[in-house]
Symmetry: C2
Subunit: 273 residues, 2 copies
């Protein structure tokens, strides 16, 4: 008889938390940038947190990764030549891009430890890092983007929230850098947080990208292990939408979500207009 239950709780505010019962804590490490913890949960498989915030779980990471890669890809008809991922040290975004047929994926992650943890505990998710088409660079994505000109068809900002190390990834200056790092008509996308609990992220991303790109769209999806269960992404380009007809589906994304995710609830609409 086991008398002790272990739970990991993420506090969404002082007054609200989601708790996962865990079988075991597999890792806890403080890196130069942040604290990384890894749990084996009962309901969601392995769960990775950074600074106490759920980054991904084995059972629902596909939603985030499909939505950050497939939706912009099919909404703009992006050329599957060269992509840049900023952040995304778990490898899920890079792996998604390779499976969409990208010839070259550059992944710039600031914290090598995130990569090492993912390689060890999420081998499928991080499989891009073993692929010749993927070039992993451990460096500051802001600096890297600033020094890149006219190089990428697709830039994906797969960051933590706009507090702490990722704050600069929500600045207008950074959006100028990624604009200039894109080839003409290229597309940038950033995760932009929970509309309910992180209005700052969605407002910074949407208003900041509008200062730089001709066309900016915010879209949403459901992610059960992220705060409020509801998440946003914001994408921008100087080209406009060009919805593709021939769309591969994932476990969450499909040709319906390609259109439906862009249709926003009124309270989200009010935040970005």
């Amino acid at each position: 008889m086991k008398l002790i239950e272990n739970w990991f709780s993420e506090r969404y505010s002082d007054n609200l938390q989601l708790s996962f019962r865990v079988k075991d804590q597999l890792l806890s490490v403080r890196t130069d940038f942040q604290r990384i913890d890894l749990f084996e949960t009962f309901d969601f498989g392995k769960l990775l947190t950074i600074d106490g915030t759920v980054q991904l779980t084995e059972y629902d990471e596909h939603i985030y990764h499909e939505m950050i890669t497939m939706l912009p890809f099919y909404a703009f008809g992006i050329k599957s030549d060269s992509a840049l991922v900023i952040g995304g040290g778990d490898g899920g975004t890079a792996t998604g891009l390779l499976s969409l047929g990208f010839n070259s994926v550059t992944n710039v992650e600031i914290d090598s430890q995130v990569v090492e943890v993912s390689k060890k505990f999420f081998p499928n998710l991080s499989s891009a890092f073993k692929d010749k088409r993927c070039n992993l660079i451990i460096d500051d994505g802001i600096k890297y983007a600033k020094n890149s000109k006219n190089k990428f068809d697709f830039i994906l900002v797969d960051s933590t929230d706009p507090e702490g190390p990722a704050e600069g990834l929500f600045s207008v200056e950074f959006y100028h850098s990624i604009h200039d790092a894109l080839k003409e008509g290229g597309v940038a996308v950033t995760q932009s947080g929970s509309p309910l609990y992180q209005p700052k992220a969605i407002k910074l991303a949407n208003s900041g990208m509008k200062k730089v790109f001709k066309h900016v769209y915010t879209y949403c999806c459901f992610i059960p292990t992220y705060p409020s269960g509801f998440w946003s992404f914001t994408m921008g380009s100087d080209s406009d939408l060009d919805f593709q007809k021939d769309v591969r589906h994932g476990k969450y994304f499909n040709s319906e979500i390609l259109h439906g995710a862009l249709k926003l609830p009124q309270f989200v609409r009010d935040m970005i207009e």
Copy 2:
């Protein structure tokens, strides 16, 4: 200095729970049918639970109530004459229907205590019960529907989950009753649970209504205080969709959500096809 914190937790499974910090418990009563608790929370205002399950909170009830009333109303162009609400003892659904202009709303709730609690603690939400256009009947909705023929333009099943007292509200026999209680071409809608945590509800509702109605559609929305944050509704009619152009928006629902909510993620699509 307050040393004790009080929390209400809803267990979504043995291994997952969402917890709300509460200022006070305002009520706890066992009725003939179920247990009702009411908390004053920090983040969501008043929170009503039935048998330990969140039914509504002051701050996000509008999402559920807008989505169960407005979406079918504008998607089918329902005549705003007579509606029947089964369950919905908090009054939110009836109040929503009155604000859409319905001339007559019959609300059949099995548990008078739910009505009393809502009248006392949610006076705005339950305001329909003071309106002459609303006829509140304390009775078994299954029996009531069975005895009604060709009477309503719109029937809304605003029930708890398909376990316990509400189980019969997910049966094919019941769907036959509401089909026959509708006027020709009328529309029925039922809440059909969290696609992630209550696959039984969505499957029963969708497959059951398809046995009875010519056209059946499931749609989804985001509700932060319900399990997984993601919720479904299923609606059926012998008429097909007739999307209205002139659409009033709520705080969540708008003319975009009218179309977007019907566009389902692949895993939901797979459950109902």
